[in-house]
């Protein structure tokens, strides 16, 4: 029984962790290209989920998801083009505040477009009560979907940033924008691209997690805080680390519920995060060297 429970908590923790990680990855992409944190990232997740649910009313699921992702990418591009692109010399704090403002405004718009109802996509396989049972441990097939999508995205991104030229260009823009331009890189387009990419990944995350978590006009904020926590815990900019950190945080939360009142789950998880940061100011997997070289 204890063993079984242990694994059940473990599975729960992994589920949480993967959900957080999918959001954290989106943070990392824009961070990698611009050196800023886009606090409206959670809203991409929300828009993706909401749009897919709306479309799913008259389109088959895969098509609804694809179109929702594309629409969210367009939103991402528009956000960059309207609000970010033409700012000369953006300071980090200024960008943080603009994106916070955006996140608030998008949320309010969503409230007026979709109302305050709770929605969800249907389970990709099975339904609300299906679960796979492996040696007494139960797991919803949707969790496997989330894990699968997340892994594919992380591996693809890791490859993208380390080995493709566009990925490197994104990092170069974050490191020193003027120098990047002197290398012939069109920094503005690169930033737009990073918004498009992270909006797309956010939206995809929103679609695959929505059967589990539901989406609502304001579900972005909570996810964004968790995603940000995980991105920081892992060390900013590194998607693989974000997944590892996400799972660690998820498992911590889950096991904290085993032994302590669930009401303090977040407080406990964040206390642990703080303690880790005090010992490793660059996050669990972040390079200390890089950390020292970063301005902000």
């Amino acid at each position: 029984m204890i063993i079984e429970l242990f694994f059940q908590y473990l599975v729960a923790g992994i589920t949480y962790g993967i959900i957080y990680s999918t959001v954290a990855i989106g943070f990392n992409i824009i961070y990698n290209a611009t050196g800023i944190i886009n606090f409206a990232q959670g809203e991409f997740v929300m828009i993706g989920g909401m749009t897919a649910v709306t479309l799913n009313a008259f389109l088959p699921l895969p098509l609804a998801i694809i179109i929702a992702v594309i629409i969210t990418m367009v939103v991402g591009a528009l956000i960059d083009i309207i609000f970010i692109r033409w700012i000369v010399n953006p300071s980090v704090l200024r960008m943080i505040i603009i994106t916070i403002g955006l996140s608030i405004v998008i949320r309010e718009i969503a409230l007026h477009v979709w109302g305050d109802g709770v929605r969800a996509l249907p389970y990709f396989t099975g339904n609300e009560i299906t679960s796979l049972s492996i040696a007494g441990v139960h797991i919803s097939p949707q969790v496997l979907w989330v894990i699968g999508v997340c892994s594919v995205v992380v591996i693809a991104l890791n490859f993208f940033f380390s080995f493709t030229l566009v990925g490197r260009q994104m990092r170069a823009c974050a490191s020193n924008r003027n120098a990047a331009r002197l290398c012939g890189i069109n920094a503005k387009n690169i930033v737009t691209l990073s918004f498009v990419l992270s909006a797309g990944i956010g939206a995809l995350a929103g679609c695959v997690i929505s059967p589990i978590t539901y989406v609502q006009y304001d579900s972005g904020t909570g996810l964004a805080i968790k995603g940000f926590t995980v991105a920081i815990l892992g060390g900013l900019g590194n998607s693989m680390a974000a997944v590892a950190a996400g799972i660690i945080l998820g498992i911590l939360e889950s096991f904290s519920i085993w032994v302590l009142p669930a009401a303090y789950k977040d407080a406990i998880a964040i206390s642990i995060l703080l303690i880790i940061l005090f010992y490793r100011p660059s996050g669990l997997f972040g390079s200390r060297e890089v950390f020292r070289l970063k301005e902000f």
Partner: protein, 362 residues
């Protein structure tokens, strides 16, 4: 006190008195309620302005400090200790006047901490927490610092929301008035509305003047130097860790005092005061005020809180606020209240024509 400061102080005091007199003669005394509440929020905001704008350390957790002040003093002044009155310690505390008895609305007796004692305990606890946590937290930089302070705020939020003695989601109510001096009490009661307006503004003005003094001094210079280049700052002998910590603690203390006073004024406090959204609001107002601009922080702090508390934005409170953030950061990243405006006004007043060519000098 330098002459400039005396002038500024006189200007502020005149402004505060004028507003009160205006409301009096136009029969709009009710505005004072929201002006009083906004004053307390501004106290948090100017403290945060020192931390963010001058010392360059972001904090996304200041609502936590506000809530710590408010909640602790609310708890101490509402928790009924009567059932324990036979306990030796309680008895001693009663004798010394630290614990006092009041009758509540429904006629039952409550044994509680004298509000002054509660206030001192609340503020010192906040200061202690800020001091202990500030050391390690302020070693972090940039987004990591933002996360850590955000986390601090979330922890406070979770604790007040999850603990039965803090009233969980309902928060604490029926907080008694806080008698500062005989005849002068912090309370939302209609009969003391005017005096409370002056209490709040008196507090804000004192705090504001001390901050103006501070940023104009050697310490202020050191803080700005830390903001700009921490390495170089320590190379000229600034104990950067200590200065950052002191500033952090100072701004936490301001937030905490604001929390204590506003809680007594409102007669209660709820968990929304500790929420992330509140912290974000404080930071945003500092930004809208122009970061390293105490005047901007004060004016925007009063203005935006006043409008929001009056309900002028209706159901669009958040939306309007988000919109303001975006617009100001896009078009006036230095904030709306700029030093040049004052300079311009001064010129206009003294009848000079605004110089066109002599920029860069002066």
């Amino acid at each position: 006190m330098p002459g400039k400061r005396v002038l500024q102080m006189a200007g502020l005091i005149t402004g505060v008195i004028t507003v009160q007199l205006l409301t009096r003669f136009t029969g709009t005394g009710y505005f004072l309620t929201q002006l009083t509440m906004s004053a307390y929020y501004s106290l948090v905001i100017i403290g945060l302005c020192l931390l963010i704008g001058y010392a360059g350390q972001i904090s996304l957790g200041h609502a936590g400090f506000f809530a710590m002040g408010g909640y602790i003093s609310a708890l101490l002044t509402t928790y009924n200790l009567l059932p324990y009155k036979d306990n030796a310690i309680i008895a001693v505390l009663m004798k010394t006047g630290i614990l006092v008895v009041r009758t509540n609305l429904y006629g039952s007796e409550i044994l509680y901490f004298q509000p002054w004692v509660a206030c001192i305990i609340a503020v010192s606890m906040t200061v202690l927490v800020a001091y202990l946590i500030g050391g390690p937290i302020l070693k972090l930089k940039g987004h990591y610092l933002a996360m850590a302070t955000l986390g601090l705020g979330i922890i406070v939020y979770r604790i007040v929301l999850g603990s039965a003695f803090f009233g969980e989601a309902d928060g604490l109510s029926e907080v008694p008035a806080f008698t500062l001096l005989p005849g002068l009490k912090v309370s939302g009661n209609l009969s003391v509305r005017i005096s409370n307006y002056y209490i709040a503004w008196g507090l804000v003005i004192i705090a504001f003047i001390t901050l103006l003094n501070l940023v104009d001094s050697r310490v202020g210079r050191a803080l700005r130097s830390i903001h700009g280049a921490e390495d170089a700052s320590s190379a000229v002998g600034v104990n950067t860790a200590k200065y950052k910590l002191n500033t952090f603690v100072l701004s936490a203390a301001f937030a905490s005092i604001a929390g204590v006073f506003l809680t007594h004024y409102n007669g209660g406090i709820g968990p929304s005061e500790a929420s992330v959204m509140k912290s974000v609001r404080y930071v945003a107002i500092v930004a809208v005020g122009g970061m390293a601009n105490l005047w901007g922080a004060l004016i925007m702090g009063v203005l935006l809180n006043f409008l929001s508390l009056r309900g002028y934005f209706g159901s669009f409170d958040d939306a309007v606020f988000g919109g303001i953030l975006i617009v100001i950061m896009l078009f006036a990243p230095e904030g709306l209240i700029r030093v040049d405006i004052f300079r311009y006004l001064k010129r206009a007043v003294s009848g000079e024509k605004a110089g066109e060519q002599n920029d860069g000098s002066s």
